[in-house]
Structures are given as C-alpha cells and as structure tokens.
Symmetry: C2
C-alpha cells in the first residue's frame, strides 16, 4: 500500500471512529438513563394498578387520557394536547358462562365474548357443534352448518421462532370466523384462543361482521386452549353433544375520546416530525400491561430520556398515545386525517405494540436505502443485545400515515411469552419485568436519536 | 473480473451454499423437534412439582437422581449410569425470623440463612448494626465492628446489560462477607439479596468460612432487597437500632450422592467425548426450576432430539447431570477426577446453568482458533435469533475439566429476569415458559451437532 493511501485511510478511519464514538457515548447514556433514572415502570404501575383495563369508550380509558396528559405536562415539553376522536364503545356485560352438554353431563369451560360480538339470547344459546380448522372448510360443509355452532380449532403453529407469524396464521378464525359461519346458517361460533400455551385463559380480541346484514350477526366467543382441547376430544366421542354459552355483551353508540400528544419542537427542522407511540386503550379482561401499557410508557420514556440527557432534537419529536387500536383503529386514522389537514410532514414513526419484553430489534417498513442506512447502525446496538433488523409490519396505529418519504418502525421485543398474555386476564403488571421494559424504551430512544442526527435518506 | 475467476468463485460459492444448506436443514429439524416433540417441559414439571427443591444430600436430591436416571433409560441410550460422589449436607431447619428493633418498635423483615451458615443462638441474636458497602470497608471501621452485626448493602449495578456482570460485582459480600467480618469481631452478618429488583424475597446462596477457625464462624443471612432498603433507612434515623435474627440451620456429615450420566457411543470417534450438562441439585427455598432444573432437562432434551431425528453422533455424546453445584461443586470435581483416572479424552463440554429463558448465544472458553470456528457458524443460528457469541465463563460443573484440546461453552439465555428468581422462593415452574426452555435445548443441540460434524480445531 502506498504511504499516502495509508495515511488517507487512517484519517478516514480516524474520523469514522471518532464519529462513531460520539454516537456510542450518547447511546450508552440513553441506556444508562433508562436503567437508572426512568419513570416508565412507575407510570405503568399507575396505568395498570390504579386505572386498569382501558377499553375504548370506558371510564378507565378516559382516566388514562387524563393521567398520561398530566404526566406529559410534568416533563417540560413545548406542547401537550389532546386530539378528539370518536370511538366505538362495546361492553362485555356479565361474565360469560359456557358448558359442554354431553347427555346429562355438563362440563364448564372458560370462554369470553370476542370484542364486537352480539349477545346470546338471554338464557344462552345451545346447539350442536361442528369443529373446523379453517374458514375455507365451511364451504365444503355447507348445509351441515345450519343451526349449529361452528368451533374453529386451528392452533397456532409452534414451529415459528417469531410467534407473530403463528398469530398471523390463525387469527382469521377470530376476526372473520363469525361472519363467514353466519352465511352458512350457523347460530354461533366458538374460537380457539390465539395462544401457544395450553391453559385456562380465554383470549378476547377484535372480530368483524363486515359483509353481513345486522340481522345475521351471531354471537362469537373465544374458548381457552385447554377448553378447546377438551371440546375437541369430547366431540370425537360424541359428535352429537351440545355446547351452551351465555353472553350479554352489546355495542353502544360511539363516544368522544382522545389521542394524547406531547411535543418537543425541533431545533433545526421543526417542520420534520418524528412520532413515537403506543396505544392507550386495552382490552377489558386485564389491565393491559403488555398490550399496550408497555408501549405507552416506553414512548413517554423516550421523551423523558431526552429531557434527562438535555438532548434537544433537531427535528420535532412527538409522542402520540393513540386511542382505540384494539377495536377500531380510530385514533391512528384520526391522527393521519389531521396530519393531512394540517399539511404536516412526517419523516419517522416508531410504534411499540408487541409487549414489554427484552428488545431484540426493529421491524422496518421503508425503502431499501433507508433500510440499508439503519442496518449500517447495527453495531451501535450490539452492546445492548439488539440484533434483529428486518423488513416487516411496523405498527397498526402508524399504518395510516402517508407522508413521503417516511420511515416506519416497530419495536421487536422477544416474542416467546407474548401470546401467553395477549388479550387475556393475565396481561397484568406482575408479568412485566422492569429492566426489560426500560431496555425497550432505551432501544427506541436510540433509534430515534440516530434518525434525528442522520436524517432519513430522501 | 476474468471469466475463469468468476467460474471458480461460482463453483466455490455453489459448494459452500450446498454444504451450508445441509447444516441449515438439520438445524431446522432440531428446532422443529424441540418445539413440537420435546419432553423437557414435562420432565421439568415432574422435577419441580413432583419432587421439588433438591439440596445436596436431601431426600429430594436422591429422588431426582432416580427420576432422571429412569427417564434417561427410556431414551434407548448405549449406557446410563450413576457416578458416586460424597456431598456436603446442610439443612436450613425452621423458617428464619428477623426484625428491626428501634426502641420499642419491632418491624419484621424477610431473611433466610445463607447456605453453610451456622445457626444463631437458640433464642436468636440481637446486636447493633454497621452498614457497609464492601468487604474493603471493614478494615477502615476496625474495632467499631466488635460485637456488631455487619450489614452488607452494596446493590447490583443496574447499568450492565448482562446481569451476570452485576452479579459478579457484588456476590463477594454473600460468599466471603461473614468470614471477613468475623475477623473484626462481628457477631453476625446480614447481606442484601443479590437481586436487581426491589421485592420481599430473600435470596440464599453459598457462603464460605474459609480461612477462619470453626470457633469464629458467625451466622449469616440474606435479607430481601425491600428489607435492605428499610434497614438502611432506619439506620439513618437511628444508628443505634438493633437487629434480631434467629436461625437453626446446621452442617451435617457428608453423604453419598450421584452424578447421573447417559451416553451414546460415537460412531466414528468413540474415544472423543462431548459432554452436555446441568446440575441436578438446587437450593431448598423453591423447586429450582430455573436454577438448574432447566439446564438438566435441556441437556436431556439434546439427547432426545438426536434420538428423535435418528442422528448418530460421530463422537461419544454424554449427558451429565452434576450433583452439588450449589454448595460444594463436588459433582464436577468427581467427574473430572474419574475422567483423568480413566484416561478419557474430552473435546467439548457444554453447560446450561443460567436459567430457562430465551437463548441468546454462548459464552465460550476456548482458544482463538476454536472461537473463530464457532463464530463462522453464526449465520446458522441467526434464523433462531441466537446472536451473541462471546468469550467468557462456561459453567461451574465443567470448570474442572482439563482435557486438551477442549472447547467449553455455556448457554447464554436472556439474563434480565434471572436474578428475580435466583436462589429464592419464587424460582418455581410457573416462571418457566415452555417455548423458551425448548429453544434453549435446540440451541444447545445445534452447537453440539456442529461440533460433532466439524470437530474442534486442534
């Protein structure tokens, strides 16, 4: 190698190393701040244990709006405000009951209404059961479904390492199963809980009657995985057994609710907006600590970390706590609607809505150039065991955003335990590890910081 | 590029891709087997819920020996046998009690005897307390420690991403604190539990009176982190307060116990032994599901996976369930002693003793050439989110092994939750996630398979 080339390379590498060292140092400070001086765990304690489940339109959801707004106001931001949004209101009513009736034997099983379901008749619904493993099977069975309860029993596939892939592989039964079965004259549907584990928790979640007239709405419930195994086994012995379930849920009129927003104005490019957020609503069976209390307090913590470090973002940083992700997505839609109306320019949006577990990386929705830029930062994350940068879905609340160019990202925590808790009565504060929650917030803040410093590729 | 060079590269890459594809396929089968057809979770269920805590020398430890031996015998191995080892026997006695006595006020706090501690006098021990943050501080305090209880209160550092580093940074207080304080005339020691979380669980663990005569042994206990915070605060208000604790633990004579060993003879190099293991004993406060029931059943599962796949190792594969890791390490020592006596040649040893959480990688004790070889397999682990290959401690039970050349490895699971449970009453089966446990076993089996195929660098 020639001497000059060597010197030039040395200088180049020298400045490269120096530049990276600054970033390394800031990221180290971000993680230290999260692990020693964060508020996210105590915020979540309040959200979960003082407020609880926050289904859209409920009194608790309103309390969560007021609490998070008040907490953001303590952080010395440039602006904290609410964004009005009309949300659907569905109420569960009395605790659901169900049993398998095999001759004179009645065996109770754990169920819960799926969100948006209609009630059963007052004294419950009793019918014979047809077990299927997919919506496609219905067409083959045709008339045999008339007057029956359709029991969707396709389990999550255990082979996938990323459990969200297994979720995607069977959630259609829950979301679209009732409408599909109703078309064949079924009187109700029972859906195996979307849970990899065998346990006694029924897991609720959104379902939709889209495409059928209101008169054909049929009640639909989730059954625990243990209950599903039991029912399937019982059906093998006696295909003529009956299933009984009773639910008093109902859909009310839409009500006014809010997205909660806090903002630090950008010091150099205030017109460029970077969003970080999670969703404030949760299902009603538990306090929603993982889904998505974690994402809410981690998003708030990103701002808290920057404040603690005295870091002034070049671009406008906005934390958005979206309302109604679970059963409508109205908060995300309203946010985009107003962003368009106000001619806002978003360059980056980051959502945390996959639980408060150890952060493993990011799922990125972006073009190749921006994906490559983020990949080039991989080494900066390695000391924090954050290693997985993949293309994929970012987040439901930021999905409506249409600014261009825009990089969207979703935090990817370890996903093995997520569906043990997802939408079930055990998604509670005790299932959260403080450090894992904090590490997630630091990981989000680090990506936010890098995007703020480097900008996106246009 | 010249055409010939291009063709040569294509061929080279072509064969490389083909070779890797075979390995990729086998590793995929290994993970599929673990996630769909494993026995480790039900083995652990039995060890934890049917047997329970397995302190060396206890009846439960003996039951665990018999149970795991019987289970290994069902796997169709070439040989299953026990290896005699004399182990220390320490018994806790009645549940410990303790309180802070501040004037007339008594406040109960949660403590537990450290393993190997002597008892307090029958009616307990009451004395004034001196709080310190390191063993080194004792020399400065000197005579002020006479007749006092030394309270070690240095917490684990939250800043480290790998929590084992924080463990290493303060476990000296627990292990060597009593002997050190005794030299200055202290009458007992109370040690802040080695736990990153604030909670009410005291965490036991080994301590040693090495270096002081038996007449100077003083009782030593762990206090929960909440208890430690409370005591420290109370001492600030009243440095003259007294601490009372009562323990009836005692050291018994050594008793006969066993390492449990199962073996598949190597098809090509039976003289080369590859060991995979965990430790069968546990502390007595809980059922030891993470420490180290997980490592035991994962090691057994490695063999089960190979049997399920019909994979016949070239080298001899031995699963070793070591006795007495927690308070003596006698099983590991005995294993090495007999290996030397029998002129055995070990090429690889892998231990799982860091909990049953999502696997993140391996900690490798080996020379640079073998470290590099293992690093070259990193891409094979990436689809399973196993990404961290570092040099470091492998495992306590395989530490005595001296065969050369020898590669030692420790499974590195996610460490954030480990010290929430470590040696405490909450290290129970419900803290284990089936998939995380299985993924750990598959990760171990995959490394074992690659070492078996490729050999080690000599």
């Amino acid at each position: 190698m020639k001497k000059n080339t060597f010197l030039a390379l040395l200088l180049f590498n020298g400045s490269l190393i120096f530049a990276q060292t600054n970033e390394e140092q800031t990221i180290k400070k971000i993680y230290n701040s999260a692990l020693t001086n964060s508020k996210c765990y105590s915020w979540l304690d309040h959200l979960s244990n003082q407020i609880g489940g926050r289904l859209s339109g409920s009194a608790n959801a309103e309390k969560a709006v007021q609490y998070t707004k008040a907490q953001l106001e303590t952080l010395g931001l440039d602006r904290v405000y609410l964004q009005e949004v009309m949300v659907p209101k569905w109420v569960r009513g009395e605790k659901e009951t169900a049993y398998i009736q095999d001759g004179k034997n009645k065996t109770s099983v754990a169920i819960c209404a799926l969100g948006g379901s209609v009630a059963t008749p007052k004294n419950g619904l009793t019918a014979e059961v047809v077990e299927v493993h997919s919506i496609e099977e219905l067409a083959i069975l045709g008339d045999k479904l008339k007057g029956k309860i359709v029991f969707y029993n396709r389990p999550m596939e255990p082979e996938n390492i990323e459990t969200f892939i297994s979720y995607g592989g069977c959630v259609d039964q829950r979301y679209a199963g009732a409408a599909a079965a109703s078309k064949f004259g079924a009187v109700g549907t029972i859906v195996r809980s979307v849970n990899l584990r065998l346990d006694d928790f029924p897991h609720t979640g959104a379902q939709s009657y889209d495409g059928i007239p209101k008169s054909q709405y049929i009640p639909t419930a989730a059954i625990s995985t243990n209950g599903a195994e039991l029912l399937s086994k019982a059906l093998t012995s006696n295909p003529k057994l009956k299933f009984h379930f009773k639910m008093s849920c109902q859909q009310m009129d839409d009500v006014l609710s809010y997205n909660v927003i806090g903002e630090i104005k950008g010091s150099e490019h205030p017109e460029n907006i970077m969003v970080v957020g999670g969703h404030l609503d949760s299902w009603d069976l538990a306090d929603g600590s993982h889904d998505d209390g974690a994402g809410v307090v981690q998003s708030m913590e990103v701002i808290n970390i920057f404040k603690n470090l005295g870091y002034k973002p070049k671009n406008t940083l906005r934390v958005v706590l979206f309302m109604n992700e679970e059963n409508g997505g109205r908060g995300g839609q309203k946010y985009e609607e107003l962003a368009q109306a106000n001619n806002e320019k978003h360059i980056f949006a980051l959502e945390s809505d996959s639980g408060g577990f150890s952060p493993r990386g990011f799922s990125l929705e972006t073009d190749q150039a921006n994906f490559n830029q983020i990949l080039s930062w991989k080494d900066l994350f390695e000391p924090y065991l954050v290693h997985s940068f993949t293309k994929g879905h970012s987040g439901s609340d930021i999905a409506p955003l249409t600014s261009k160019p825009l990089v969207k990202a979703g935090l990817k925590p370890d996903s093995q335990r997520y569906f043990d808790y997802h939408h079930a009565a055990n998604d509670t504060f005790d299932a959260i590890n403080k450090r894992e929650l904090e590490l997630g917030a630091a990981t989000m803040a680090s990506l936010m910081y890098l995007i703020d410093q480097k900008g996106i590729v246009k």
